[in-house]
């Protein structure tokens, strides 16, 4: 079954109860046409598993990478992603929007 935002918090609790490290990425602001609304969530664990989304799949990879750092430092951070850069390896939103994501560990 598809995962909706109400389920996300239940999954977060299950993962945490199973002893995994859990990071929660939340869209806190959007400009222009962003695929997921404010409040949308992506969960990441310390093995790189993830559920939910903060975009249409464009920046999830980057957020998952940031979560690995977060598990080392424990420090919440704000990530911002904008329009795709011409450089193919640059992370960006093809839709032309910009999103701000708050990433913090569930502790």
């Amino acid at each position: 079954m598809a995962v909706s935002d109400n389920d996300i918090i239940n999954i977060a609790r299950d993962w945490k109860n199973n002893g995994r490290k859990v990071a929660i990425a939340t869209v806190i602001q959007t400009w222009g046409s962003a695929p997921r609304g404010v409040g949308s969530k992506l969960l990441i664990d310390d093995l790189g598993n993830f559920e939910g989304s903060v975009s249409g799949g464009c920046v999830e990879g980057a957020v998952i990478g940031e979560a690995a750092d977060l598990f080392k430092t424990g420090k919440p951070k704000i990530l911002e992603y904008g329009v795709s850069n011409e450089m193919a390896w640059e992370v960006g939103l093809a839709c032309g929007g910009t999103i701000k994501v708050y990433l913090a560990e569930l502790d």
Binding site: M1, A2, S4, D5, N6, D7, I9, N10, A12, R13, K16, I24, T26, I28, Q29, G37, V38, G39, P76, I78, K100, Y102, A104, L106, D107
Partner: protein, 224 residues
Amino acid sequence: MKKKTLDEIISKQVERKSLAHIINTENGDEFIFANGKKTDYPELDKEIIDCIRFDRSKLVQIDNKSFFIDVYNPPLKLLIIGAVHIAQHLINFANNLNFDCILIDPREGFANKERFADVEIYNNWPDEVLPEIVIDERTAVVTLTHDPKIDDVALDYVLDKSCFYIGSLGSKKTHNARVERLSKKHSGKKLAEIHGPIGLDIGARSPAEIALSIVSEMISKLRL
């Protein structure tokens, strides 16, 4: 987020209580705002109350601080009266949309676990069971039997509640007759809230397509 905070959010969801999770995005401080609790900033209180009412999360700047207001409203609920073919598809769609679904039909041949595996079933007349169910502004009601003995009883009860959507299956003629019967107890304004014929007009033919038109209309009522 603290695990304790997450547990509190989940327990409030189960109790069908609205709340907001507030995060200071600069230092990670967080707290839960519920039941008319106050913060140190009246301006923030007002923003939070608006966010909960409009079911929208939001980042706000107050007193040179950034607060993220994350709204958790209770899960959406769908009451279906009539365990007919359309109901099977409607429940599939609604489950995917994360509605808590409840199916009511006194006819055990229609409403049973064999035909409906993924839903809470009540083999009762609507007036027997509806008073036991919380029906609020996060609740949609759909009647599908066409049978006035079952549908009218349910409509009569839910018209006095604050459901965000009420829809009834049936042609224009059936619906007009239904409105006529219910007008003995309900105002024309109230009765105009019933969506009938039910669903967005997408030219639906099959039971699954009709179910799709119904959930589409429900969501449009919720979001537009």
